[in-house]
């Protein structure tokens, strides 16, 4: 399976999840799991996604989320899953 991790970090505000997930859905990326925490005012969301059916290439998908990140003033990163599994697991 072709999976990626999306992390969203920044100052909490109304509509963060709505804005981010709208782009994810528009690109036909399936969210498999979400973990969200709020530490003081810092919002952190980690999503595990299946990008196998993504209707744009990976670079374009990153750019679209970059644009949303800019709009809501939060840092959004999309990284292939392997970097995390490789780093922490044998």
């Amino acid at each position: 399976m072709n999976r990626a991790i999306i992390t969203v970090i920044g100052q909490d505000k109304v509509g963060v999840i709505a804005k981010v997930t709208a782009v994810i859905a528009e690109c036909n990326v399936n969210i498999l799991d979400i973990n969200q925490t709020l530490l003081q005012d810092i919002f952190t969301m980690v999503m595990l996604c299946d990008i196998g059916g993504c209707n744009v290439d990976f670079k374009r998908f990153q750019e679209k989320l970059d644009d949303v990140g800019e709009e809501i003033a939060m840092k959004i990163q999309v990284q292939k899953e392997e970097i995390f599994s490789y780093m922490h697991r044998i």
Partner: protein, 455 residues
């Protein structure tokens, strides 16, 4: 989460990259130039240019793609080539400057920032071609921008070629003078080795050894900032427990390097060589090996305890790293370049860290006296003697040592030099004034050491 990893691990990785300067320091493509040799020097130069441009045409783009996919910075994309003294040997010419220029043009064409391999291996003696290459070094490093040179003058099996050591003292002086208008930057691209590895991906000492395949991908990882931060979080651990923490951190850093190396190898369809698990500092704040030693409990790097702390750090990095990768090689350990490490620079400026202590430190970590700036009036004989001391440590201890020293023209102790970028800036360090001229001028070879009766 619905996978084999968890939220804390993901955030740890993100934090390492965002806040602790974790990166893959270099993807280095090794390219054999053995089939570029020709009796016509211009034809050889053309062959070299064409082959590098062909083999490395996708290197930089692939590096950038991998960096974007995984969200891991890959700072440098570089090339190492067969030692030019071997490639040029059959060419009928006076010097190898045209070959250096061909390498420089090729490096610019494919977009790599450094290319290593203007090199010769002369630990037992010099061929005519080796002599020609060494004679060409000052002009080559002055007239090119991205080419790096290295010369191996000793090994545990062969001893130390003191004629070559003295020659290199003079070559370093000449290179410094020729690039005097730029603080002697030519010398920052010139390394003198003992026991040089053939698969080192780090500059300026990288070259593509004769035991290597046609083309190969090696990577060098970094991450002093990550290690320093993890140590700062554990002020109460004893040293055995601290070593364990360093090992675990080195493991994670190296896994990242291994993943990037394998991915680059797959995408470029080039065999994977090694991961060099070195802690390579940069001048950036917090990316310092000296600060790791200070986080272990030293007031300043260079004071008593520094050698012991560095020995433990170096060993723990190797232990953790070698668990993480199937092929470890290159220099592997902690680098202690003065001008590239903010903590080292501070220690020199505060008069805590001296050349002699650095020399002791090189006995227990990778490489050697690296990016040391000394007064411009330091003689070729004194530089040769410093090289001989460093080579002796490598020869006796069966390890790689090296000297990258810059006698900055017109500068004196306490002045500052500025190389820019990753090469950083640094204070001019004091050199012991007692002369070794007669010793150096004796020439000949220091015999290879006996390896039993170890003391």
């Amino acid at each position: 989460m619905n996978s084999s990893f968890n939220y804390a691990e993901i955030m740890e990785t993100i934090n390492m990259v965002s806040n602790e300067n974790l990166d893959v320091r270099t993807i280095t493509m090794g390219i054999s130039l053995m089939d570029c040799a020709d009796s016509d020097i211009d034809k050889t130069a053309r062959n070299i240019y064409d082959k590098i441009c062909l083999k490395a045409k996708d290197l930089v783009k692939t590096g950038e793609d991998i960096s974007r996919d995984f969200g891991i910075p890959i700072v440098n994309k570089r090339i190492s080539v067969t030692p030019v003294s071997l490639v040029g040997a059959s060419a009928d010419c006076e010097d190898y400057v045209p070959l250096a220029k061909a390498l420089d043009h090729a490096a610019k064409e494919v977009g790599v920032n450094f290319l290593g391999g203007f090199s010769a291996l002369v630990h037992k003696g010099m061929t005519k071609s080796d002599e020609k290459l060494i004679r060409s070094i000052p002009a080559a490093l002055t007239e090119t921008e991205r080419v790096c040179a290295s010369v191996n003058i000793g090994s545990t099996k062969a001893g130390i070629n003191m004629d070559a050591v003295y020659t290199m003292g003079k070559i370093i002086k000449e290179t410094a003078e020729r690039t005097g208008d730029r603080d002697g930057i030519g010398c920052a691209k010139l390394v003198v080795f003992c026991n040089v590895p053939e698969d080192n991906p780090f500059m300026a000492g990288a070259f593509h050894g004769i035991g290597e395949p046609e083309v190969v991908i090696n990577t060098g990882v970094s991450g002093p900032g990550v290690v320093r931060n993890v140590l700062s979080e554990h002020p109460d651990l004893n040293l055995g427990q601290l070593a364990e923490v360093i090992k675990k951190t080195a493991f994670k850093i190296t896994r990242m390097g291994e993943l990037v190396a394998r991915e680059a190898s797959r995408r470029l369809n080039v065999p994977f060589g090694i991961v060099d698990l070195s802690l390579a500092p940069t001048p950036a704040a917090g990316d310092s090996v000296a600060e790791i030693l200070e986080a272990m409990g030293l007031e300043r790097c260079g004071g008593p305890g520094t050698t012991a702390a560095l020995a433990m750090l170096n060993d723990a990095v190797k232990k953790g790293g070698s668990m993480a990768s199937s092929h470890v090689g290159g220099l592997s350990g902690a680098f202690i370049p003065v001008s590239e490490d903010a903590g080292m620079i501070r220690a020199v400026n505060e008069n805590v860290l001296h050349l002699e202590k650095l020399e002791a430190m090189t006995a227990v970590c990778s490489v050697g006296l690296d990016m040391i700036t000394v007064p411009g009036d330091t003689s070729a004989e004194t530089i040769a003697a410093v090289i001989a001391d460093e080579a002796a440590i490598g020869m006796i201890n069966n390890k790689t040592t090296a000297v990258r020293i810059i006698p900055a023209a017109g500068k004196k102790e306490g002045d500052c030099v500025e190389f820019g970028g990753l090469l950083g800036s640094g204070p001019v360090m004091a050199v012991n004034q007692a002369k070794a001229d007669d010793f150096v001028k004796r020439g000949g070879r220091i015999p290879a050491p006996i390896k039993s009766l170890n003391n």
